[in-house]
Structure formats: C-alpha cells, structure tokens
C-alpha cells in the first residue's frame, strides 16, 4: 500500500492558491442534496458544521456533551497564533510556517503546514467579525503576546480564556445555522462505529446517551472532528469524556492511524496531589512570558520555603540551558528539562515532582496589577486548587499530558485513505509533526473547519452525484447489531472491578512506559502488560444498571475498551521509531547534552498503521516526508 498525500504541484507558497484556483466546485443547488455527518463540535467540528451549512450543505452534527458549547476546545487558555505581524517584529507567513515545522521537529508535512500559516490571518478576521472579544490596546487595536518556540509576538488572546471565546464564536455560528434548519444537532449522542458502503464512509452508528438507543445515520461524507486521545494516560488535561473511540473505530474500519506515539506533555500543569485525582489542570503556557522557572541548585534546599532560598542558590535551568529562548523554550524541551531536574532529586513539593514558576521579578518590574490583568483568572484557579497564593509564593508546576499530535492519516484534502472520511483538528495527524507549538491547536482546529475543509471537500463530493446510499443498506444494520452486541457484552461481564480502576491502571502503564521518556525495554514491557489488562477487563469488569438509559459507567467502559487496544498501538509505534524527536523521547537516542537525537536518514517519514484484524499485528505504511523548502536541521533553541 502506498500513500498519496495529493499535495499540489508548484512552489510551496503557491500550492494552496493554485489548489483553490483549480479545485472542483459543487454548485449551490447541488450542495443542498448532500448530507454531511460531523462528529464533534469543538473548534474544528463547530466551525466546519457552520461553514458547510453556510455554503448550502445539509449537516448533521453530533457531540457527547449536552451542548456543542461544552466541547473541550473550551478549556484552551493561552491564545491563537497568526502571522499578522501587527507588532512589526519581523513576523510573516513564512516565519510562522518555519517555526511550526521546526517546532514539530521536522516530522510534519510541509505543504499542509504552509497552508495553515497562510489561512491563520483569515481566522483572526473571521473571529473578530463574529464577536470574539480579543484583548486590545488602548488605541483599540488588537494586542499580542509571545508563546513558546517563537521569537515574535504573534499570539492573539482573550484573557486566559481564548479557547472558550473562539469556541463560543463557532458555537454562535453553529447555533445560527441550527436555527435556520441547515444543521441538525444531536447532543448527548456518541459515535460507536463508522459505516462503510462499497469502501466509502457513508454513515455512523450512534448511541443516544439519554435513552440508550443505538441507531445509524447515513450521509454522503463523514467528518471526524473528535479530538485527541490524551486520556489513554487516564490523567491528562483533557476533559473526562475525551476519548479515542471515533477515530479508533474508523481505524478498525480501515483508516490508517498516523504517528500515535507523538503525544505532547505540557510543561506547566498543577502537580498531582493524590491517587483519587481525576484530572490534571493546566496553567497556560502564556505564564512563561512573565514567570521564571527554577529549582534549587542543592537537593538540601528543596524542602525550604522558596523565599529563603537566595538568588545564587537557584537554578533557572531553562535560562541557563537555552539562553536565547529561555523560559519560552518549546513544550517538549521544557517538560523534559523539568523531568531531568526532578529525576536529579531537585524537584519541589509533595513527592519532589514539581518545579517553581516564579512571578516575583515580573511583579517587581510591572506591578501586581499588570500581572493580575494578564493572568488573574489563572492565579485564582491555582489558589483555589492548591490553596496557595502565587502572587506571594512561586507556583509549583509539573508536566502533564495535554495534546496528541498523532491522529488519523489524511491527505492534503484532509481526507483519510477511506474515501469520504475526512478528519479535522486534533483528530488528524497533519500539522504539528512530533511536537505542537503553543497557541497552534486553536489555529489548526479553526483553519481546518472554517477555511481548509470547506475548500477541499468538493474534491470528493463532485464524484458523489447520484451515489446516495440507501440508509437501509445491510451495512448499516450490521454495524448497529455489532454495536448493540458489544454494549450487551460489556453489561454482561458482571465481574468485580470498576471501569475507572482499569483506566487508572492503563494510564499508569502508559505514563511510566510511554510517557515523557521511553525506552525499548519499557515499551516491550507495556506491550506485555496491556493485553493482560485488556483480558482482565473483558472478564472482570463490573457494570451496574441497564443500557437503556443514562449510564455513565457504561459510556466510560466503551471508551476504556478502545483505549485498552489503542494503548498497544501507541507503544508499538513508539517502539518502532528508533529515534528521538519532539515529544517522542527515546532515552537510547540522545546527544551527550541530553537533547533529542533525530535520525533523518531512517525516520523522516510518517508512520501510518493499518489495522489487520483482532489479534494480528498492524502493518506499517510509510509516507516519506519530502522537504522541498526547508533544510532539515538540528532543532536548537540555545
């Protein structure tokens, strides 16, 4: 099997324009005849649903929350990048493109990333027009701030709630289209399977989480905008409900899963405080604009009150190791450095798993009111969770799973190898390579939803005239029956262990063996442990109640069952990639200074995994990464 990325010919900066100039179009009268199924209502899903409906398509949109406004994009804090260069500090589309490629450690597809940088400016225009209250300067113009991995200020923000405001913008547009009747919204409805008719994605199987009804929906194309799989680690900054089911089910139906081992560990989260913990809370990376990261130089000082540790006994390790980027070093590097100092015994707080993020200098320089204005809500959140006042005492932070760069493989049209199945936002693999830069997830979700997919969908749709599938086709009934049988099976195990206990155990395996640092022995160990745990799950799970109404344990059981298979795929991918790049750090492959050692000769490719059936190892399909514009370089932030 070979993968065709369908990248348009021509110079890099002309590809998107020439694509649009020659893309196939569907005329407005014909768009009305097409039903588009969209799974997920976050930035990518809501933006795509609203935009396709504006264009005239008939859209059905599904989300598991009780309102599309609650999708987890809502929780993104820091900001959204764009190459506006409003700061006159040397930014450009090319620079945003280059920073993103370099930030991703040269493991992303050039043409997709360049397109992302190109449409970034339109996103800001679009969001302002729909009423997103971005931060402004006194003159009334938009304000910017800096984020990791960039030396320009290109991040637009709305206090510490940028994701919320962008999602509410997309949600408004979606609500408008629902009112007009062009989008039919299915909240509290979870996708359980993908339906293929003659090899094309033509529908989905869903469960109504209120009534328990399992049914199918037919459409002319399916868009998965279902987010990432960070919850495979149990503890992450994702919402409780985030899951891999939609994309994993598509994988089991033949869609290739690309780079599953590329996961992002965010450097600034509130440290874990106990076993009972259900999630980790992120403190926006924007805090690193003004906060300085440090630990004591000597282990003996770790238990001391931070204000009793004099300046010369502190190790500002990011500033020391990466003088030109300092505290704004990219996420993977900052996270790994935090792990290093903690492994060295110099961590602070309970269990020594924490480092300080100190605002004392910034408060002295700018005044408390400025810091309060910039990060007030984050400081409040921190105080609420930890009971500590970060204006007076440095915050304690530690890395946590935050984002997943891997996802279903897509071509330039955002279509997977399964015809008709398109994948947007965090659910696809395409733009962030092995590490995502801060404020780029919001950019990508909205780019895919507002501007990319609405232009590329026509490529597939123009070939679908007169090919409407019959919703009564046997494939639909078969998939519904299989989904019902699976739910029945989960309910009938009647063992002794709760869903969460399995999920926690899987999470611990993943964090220990496939987390911030990985090695061959650990990954092989994980590959032995996960199937055992899965076996126990299917023979010893305890679920109470019934399947014909609200049953949240049942919902979680279905998701955990998929994580228990998916975790294995992740470890396999990590084991296969014998190099370190971005968020994937294999301890066997590092420079003498402890930096990631990439191997471009053997691993400059996308690992796309093909499902081969239960109990059979998946096969690896490689998409070579060809760089026409940028020169592969060692990623240095020193």
């Amino acid at each position: 099997m070979t993968l065709d990325a369908k990248t348009p010919a021509g110079p890099l900066d002309k590809k998107w324009t020439s694509f649009k100039n020659t893309a196939k179009l569907v005329n407005p009268a014909n768009k009305r005849k097409f039903d588009i199924i969209i799974v997920g209502s976050g930035l990518a899903g809501a933006a795509a649903a609203a935009t396709l409906a504006e264009q005239g398509y008939k859209v059905k949109c599904f989300c598991y929350q009780d309102s599309p406004r609650r999708a987890h994009s809502i929780a993104a804090q820091g900001g959204i990048n764009a190459a506006k260069n409003y700061q006159n500090d040397g930014d450009s589309v090319y620079r945003l493109f280059y920073d993103t490629i370099k930030g991703g450690d040269f493991r992303a597809r050039e043409a997709n990333v360049h397109r992302l940088a190109e449409v970034s400016n339109q996103i800001i225009d679009q969001c302002v027009a729909q009423g997103v209250p971005f931060a402004r300067e006194y003159g009334g113009l938009l304000d910017n701030r800096s984020f990791g991995g960039a030396q320009v200020s290109r991040t637009f923000y709305a206090r510490g709630q940028t994701g919320q405001q962008l999602l509410l913008g997309a949600y408004s547009a979606l609500s408008h289209q629902i009112a007009l009747g062009s989008v039919e919204m299915f909240s509290k409805t979870e996708m359980l399977d993908l339906v293929l008719v003659d090899g094309h994605a033509k529908g989905i199987v869903t469960r109504d989480m209120t009534t328990g009804e399992i049914t199918s929906h037919a459409g002319d194309a399916v868009l998965l905008c279902s987010g990432g799989y960070g919850n495979v680690f149990y503890l992450s900054t994702n919402a409780r409900g985030c899951n891999v089911t939609a994309t994993y089910r598509a994988y089991k139906r033949g869609a290739l899963f690309a780079n599953p081992c590329f996961t992002q560990i965010h450097p600034t989260c509130i440290p874990v405080s106990g076993e009972y913990q259900s999630k980790l809370t992120l403190m926006s990376e924007s805090l690193r604009n003004d906060g300085r990261v440090w630990v004591p130089k000597r282990k003996e000082d770790c238990a001391k009150d931070p204000k009793d540790i004099p300046e010369d006994a502190r190790d500002y390790y990011l500033e020391r190791k990466y003088p030109s980027y300092g505290n704004l070093a990219p996420r993977d590097i900052s996270s790994r450095s935090a792990k290093e100092v903690c492994d060295d015994g110099r961590g602070v707080g309970p269990g020594g798993l924490g480092v300080y993020l100190d605002f004392a200098d910034a408060i002295k320089r700018l005044g408390k009111h400025v810091i309060e204005e910039r990060y007030g809500n984050l400081f409040e959140m921190y105080a609420n969770i930890t009971g500590e006042n970060a204006y007076e005492r440095p915050m304690r932070i530690y890395p946590a799973v935050h984002y997943t760069m891997g996802g279903l493989w897509v071509d330039y049209n955002l279509m997977s190898n399964v015809p008709g199945l398109h994948v947007l936002g965090e659910a696809n693999f395409s733009d962030h390579g092995a590490n995502r830069l801060g404020a780029s997830a919001l950019m990508q979700g909205l780019a895919d939803g507002y501007f990319v997919l609405p232009n590329t969908l026509g490529t597939y749709m123009t070939a679908q005239f007169g090919k409407k599938v019959d919703a009564k086709a046997p494939a639909f009934q078969e998939a519904v029956d299989a989904a019902k049988a699976r739910v029945q099976k989960l309910m009938s195990i009647k063992g002794t262990r709760s869903v969460d206990s399995f999920h926690r155990e899987l999470g611990k395996i993943m964090w220990d063996k496939c987390g911030m640092a990985r090695d061959k022995a650990g990954l092989e160990e994980a590959l032995r442990l996960i199937p055992k745990l899965r076996e126990e799950f299917w023979s010893n799970l305890k679920l109470l109640g019934t399947a014909d109404g609200i049953n949240m344990e049942l919902e979680r059981a279905g998701r955990v069952a998929d994580f228990l298979e998916f975790g294995e795929l992740m470890c396999l991918d990590a084991l296969n990639r014998n190099e370190s790049c971005g968020g994937h750090f294999r301890t066997e492959y590092q420079t003498p200074e402890g930096e990631a050692l990439r191997n471009d000769d053997d691993y400059a490719f996308v690992s796309a995994w093909k499902y081969e059936g239960q109990g059979t190892a998946p096969t690896l399909v490689k998409e070579p990464l060809v760089y026409e514009e940028v020169k592969l370089a060692t990623r240095s932030y020193k």
């Binding site: 933006a47 609203a50 935009t51 504006e54 929350q65 009780d66 609650r70 987890h72 809502i74 929780a75 506006k84 339109q122 225009d125 679009q126 969001c127 302002v128 027009a129 729909q130 009423g131 209250p133 971005f134 931060a135 402004r136 300067e137 006194y138 003159g139 009334g140 113009l141 938009l142 709305a158 206090r159 919320q164 405001q165 949600y171 408004s172 609500s175 408008h176 919204m185 909240s187 209120t210 900054t237 919402a239 409780r240 405080s273 106990g274 009972y276 913990q277 259900s278 999630k279 809370t281 959140m381 609420n384 009971g387 501007f451 609405p454 709760s498 305890k542 109470l544 609200i550 344990e553």
Partner: protein, 252 residues
C-alpha cells in the same frame, strides 16, 4: 475526611425522585467535590448499588457541564463551579445535601443530571452575529476601545451552566440572556442586529418558561463567571427601546 451525604436519586425523567443517604469515607481534603463523588461511586459499585449519575466534563471550571445544588446552593458555597469546589472547604463529619439544579425549565433526566436544552434554543433565537466565514474585513479595520472590549469580555465569560436560573426564586434566565446580549451588543460587529437579538432572545426565554427578574440578585451571587446583574438592567433598557421601535412600526 468523612461526610454524610443526602443525595437526590431519580431513575428517569418521568419517575419521582427522593433523597437517599450515603456515607463518604476516607475523602482527602485536596479532593474536589466531584472527585469525592467519584470515590463514593466506587464504593457504591462495590456494594452493588448503582452509582450516582452526574454530569461533568472539563473539571477545570470552564465547560459549564456540572450542575449540582449543594446544601441548597447551585455549585455550592463560594464562587466557582461544582468541579472547582474542594473538600477542604467543608467540615469533617458534615452532612451535605446534593440535588440537581432546580428550575422548571431544566427538567431532571436522572439523579443529578438535568436537561438544559432551553438555553440552546435561546441561543439559536439570536445569540450570534450573522456573518459568513470568508466575508470578514481585516481584524484591525475597526478599532474597539479597550474598555468596551474588556466589558464585552466580562459578559462573554458566561459558561452557560444555568446556575443563575437555578438560584433565582423566579427561575429566571435573565443573567444568562443578558450576558450574551451585552457581549455581542457592546461590539460594533454586533450592533446591526442588536434590536432583533434582544427581542428574539428575550421572547424565546419567556417561551421556555423562565421567570422574570425581580432583583433578588441570587444569580449574581452564584455565577461562577462573575457576570454582574447590572447587565440585566442594560438588557431591559435595550429590550424596551427595541420593543417600542417595533410597536411604532420601525423595522428591526
């Protein structure tokens, strides 16, 4: 820590519910309220009792999914969502009553889960700026005074949880509606539709059965996003002008 819980249990939207008593044992003081319920649910599962069903998702105070009334107060004591309430704020051995949000327009679906679709329909009635992707001018073409943008952001911070309606003795959703009317109404981009927006949203709110505002300010007291009740006054003013315009035949 240890607590005596009195929890609302209801098997479905059409059945009658009642309070059941449970014990919460070995609860760490650092646990959040929802994590306390997770621990209780693990316990119940072990004992063969169906776990308590409650909504939650982000667990960091922003998605607005959690909808518990704790000791009679939506989201419990302090200002924040249920998920941001920590057990160290309670006394060891305290009795805690847990009910769903109570408002006629939020029917209970099961245990602590309520249906808030009424809010969706209010949003669909006018909570948007009619604008197509691709049609926007440059983002800096219309300067907006910082003070206006900041106030708009204050209103936009609403998380749509519904605590305002649950706290109001009249079951009014005026704080929720006024937040959206203010957020969009203050911005030059939202201005062209201001009259239509406020009329349509308020009328939909009435149609959903939410009550009127009689200045209790309970909504403001429980709002996790700190939306001030003064926005309601602002909305009333906009609504009055818009409805007068309409009544004398001026198109809105």
């Amino acid at each position: 820590m240890k607590f005596n819980l009195e929890v609302w249990r209801q098997t479905g939207p059409k059945t009658e519910g009642k309070i059941e008593k449970y014990e919460a044992n070995n609860i760490p003081a650092e646990a959040s309220f929802l994590e306390m319920l997770d621990i209780v649910n693990e316990d119940l599962t072990k004992k063969g009792v169906e776990p308590i069903q409650f909504d939650s998702d982000c667990r960091e105070g922003i998605c607005g999914n959690c909808s518990l009334t704790i000791n009679g107060v939506p989201h419990g004591q302090g200002r924040g969502t249920t998920c941001q309430l920590y057990m160290r704020k309670f006394r060891d051995g305290q009795t805690i009553t847990i009910e769903p949000f109570r408002a006629d327009s939020f029917p209970v679906e099961r245990d602590l889960v309520v249906n808030r679709e009424a809010f969706e329909r209010i949003m669909q009635a006018g909570g948007f700026i009619s604008e197509r992707a691709g049609s926007a001018p440059d983002a800096n073409s219309v300067p907006i005074p910082k003070i206006v943008a900041d106030q708009s952001m204050d209103a936009a911070a609403c998380i749509g949880c519904g605590a305002c309606a649950a706290a109001c003795p009249n079951g009014s959703a005026m704080l929720f509606v006024s937040a959206k009317v203010t957020h969009l109404g203050l911005l030059p981009q939202g201005e062209p539709e201001n009259d239509r927006r406020v009329l349509n949203m308020v009328r939909q709110m009435d149609k959903e059965g939410f009550g009127n505002c009689s200045n209790y300010y309970a909504c403001e007291a429980v709002c996790p996003a700190g939306i001030p009740a003064s926005f309601i006054a602002r909305m009333n003013r906009e609504y009055s002008f818009a409805s007068i315009k309409q009544s004398v035949g001026i198109a809105v």
